[in-house]
Amino acid sequence: MALSRDDVERIAHLARITVDEAGIDRVLEELTGIFGLIERMQAVDTAGIEPMSHAQDVVLRVREDRVTETDQHALFQSIAPRVDAGLYLVPKVIE
């Protein structure tokens, strides 16, 4: 699969990463390499093999439904750029 510069710009936008003009060519080359690797893997015959969602064949452990955390918001908010009345303040976003 051939990747275009437009694809790179779109992926960068979705990931909220700024890539400058010169960078696009470099990223395009790197991503093309990765896609090449994927194409080679896709050539392997996997008919009849159940897909795995994870690399290891182990299952999830669960915990009891107990409240174990205490209020540490003052500590957490000591590294926040701006807070007010216990809220984190961010540039206005509205949908």
């Binding site: 779109r10 299952v59 999830l60 669960v62 409240v67 209020d71 540490q72 007010d84 216990g86 206005k92």
Partner: protein, 477 residues
């Protein structure tokens, strides 16, 4: 003119009523001061890992069993990627390809007709935080207390054909999640939220039209009005030769209209992939059997049992609207040792009226099932009339005295001496020659007026059936 059909599917987010969050040990209690219940996992500090809450899984399974869906032995958590300040990780942990529950059905009644709504799936996911857009000098305030609260997203097939059907389905689902105790159902607090997918098509067509998703429907009334508005809007667009754009729309209850949210098509590429932090969830047979054995009798099962007691469909429906009411009914008939019909009609009549007047729930009633049984026992054995029972009930509701003591104190025992009753009936007949003549001329109303006067003369202490019988006999002479 073309006839149109509305097609509706609902997505409901039900907050699971666990004590702690789905992936962290922070509290889920509603109403805490901002960010006091958002721990390192919830605010996505680097290096933290999610650990799944067993109870959230159990509650999802309870739901799957209640709707007779398939409980997937193996399900996968996935990351749904998007950027918004109330989603600190930059992704929501959800389930995508392999949800915990698939299939199942919910039965609804609309205009006396039964209909089955198919469910597509129900999956576990985490809630996001809240953004507050007012009063922060041009900035938005973020409260992450809600972030990580367990949600069960319940998705229906597009099986509903009117706003009324959609509301009936949402109400049935709302009653069910409370009945099986997985969600408190509090819509004001956002514990039970509906999104509606609405499209229209020419009547008789089997192709689906382009749909719009309506968000922000936090009451059954808004759900109904938003669907009605949206279907009309789409019909107008199509009849004017336009096309429907697939989009998300917001319902504005003040203006009673839906409007387009800022379109963000490209942002809708959620790039789902299995969350490497969470291994596959496997539900073992022991856990499934334990949960199955703890399931309460479901509304439909209770309803069928009540029909077997000789109740009408309306009565059986009424008593199974909430688990509290059904349990009150069962406590009452157990204490009475029967009296199925009497208990049902009294609970749905006088008792429900009293609850409504006081604006309280069954669980808050000052008269419990034991005390109520004391009252109905005296109605069943004809000690008091149904009318006097109302007076006794009022006194029980407002005080501590039991039925028998109130009946005794107020002298409410029915006149069982038939000689005394016959004397009063004769008096009333003698004093009302006009009504007697009317009755004999075939006017049934005149008879009711005579019964009323006898009841008045006895201050409600006569047995109306006995009065009826005596009056008919005397008037026939």
């Amino acid at each position: 003119m073309m006839k149109w059909e509305t097609v509706i599917g609902l997505e409901v987010h039900a907050q699971l009523n666990t004590r702690s969050k789905i992936f962290s040990g922070a509290s889920t209690a509603f109403g805490a001061a901002p960010n006091t219940q958002a721990c390192a996992v919830d605010i996505a500090l680097p290096g933290v890992l999610p650990v799944l809450n067993r109870e959230a899984v159990a509650k999802a399974i309870r739901f799957g069993l209640a709707i007779v869906g398939r409980i997937n032995r193996r399900s996968i958590f996935a990351r749904k990627n998007y950027f918004y300040p109330d989603l600190p990780k930059g992704y929501q942990i959800s389930q995508y390809e392999m949800p915990i529950v698939q299939g199942g059905t919910i039965g609804i009644f609309v205009d006396g007709k039964e209909k089955t709504i198919r469910l597509t799936r129900a999956h576990l996911e985490e809630d996001a935080g809240k953004s507050l857009h007012e009063d922060f000098r041009g900035m938005s305030g973020i409260d992450l207390n809600r972030a990580g609260t367990p949600l069960l997203e319940i998705v229906s097939e597009p099986d509903m054909r009117s706003a009324a059907e959609a509301v009936a389905y949402a109400k049935a689902l709302h009653a069910l999640v409370r009945w099986i105790d997985i969600c408190d159902g509090n819509m004001q607090e956002g514990s039970f939220r509906c999104d509606a997918n609405v499209s229209v098509r020419p009547a008789g067509s089997d192709r689906l039209g382009t749909r719009c998703e309506i968000k922000n429907l936090n009451s059954f009334r808004f759900l109904e009005r938003a669907i009605e508005y949206e279907a009309k809007r789409q019909i107008v667009v199509l009849e004017e030769g336009g096309t429907i754009v697939q989009e998300t729309r917001l319902y504005d209850s003040d203006k009673d209209e839906t409007r387009s949210m800022r379109t963000k098509e490209e942002a809708h590429d959620y790039r789902y992939f299995p969350d490497p932090d969470l291994l596959p969830l496997v539900v073992n047979p022991d856990m499934l059997e334990r949960i199955r054995s703890e399931m309460p009798e479901l509304p439909e099962q209770k309803r069928n049992r009540y029909l077997g007691y000789g109740l009408t469909a309306n009565e059986a429906d009424g008593l199974t609207q909430s688990r509290e009411m059904a349990e009150f009914y069962e406590g009452l008939v157990q204490a009475l040792g029967g009296g199925y019909k009497l208990a049902a009609s009294w609970l749905l009549g006088e008792f429900t009226a009293a609850l409504n007047r006081a604006g309280i729930d069954v669980s808050e009633s000052p008269v419990g099932s034991e005390r109520a049984a004391g009252l109905l026992r005296r109605v069943a054995d004809n000690t008091i009339s149904r009318r006097s029972a109302g007076e006794v009930f009022d006194a029980m509701w407002n005080g501590k005295m039991e039925a028998d003591a109130i009946i005794e104190n107020r002298g409410l025992k029915q006149i069982s001496d038939s000689g005394e009753l016959e004397r009063i009936c004769d008096e009333i007949i003698g004093a009302n020659p006009k009504q007697v003549a009317d009755y004999r001329a075939g006017k049934e109303k005149a008879f009711n007026s005579l019964v009323g006067q006898v009841m008045k003369a006895t201050r409600g202490k006569a047995n109306p059936q006995q009065v009826n019988e005596i009056l008919r006999r005397r008037l026939a002479q």
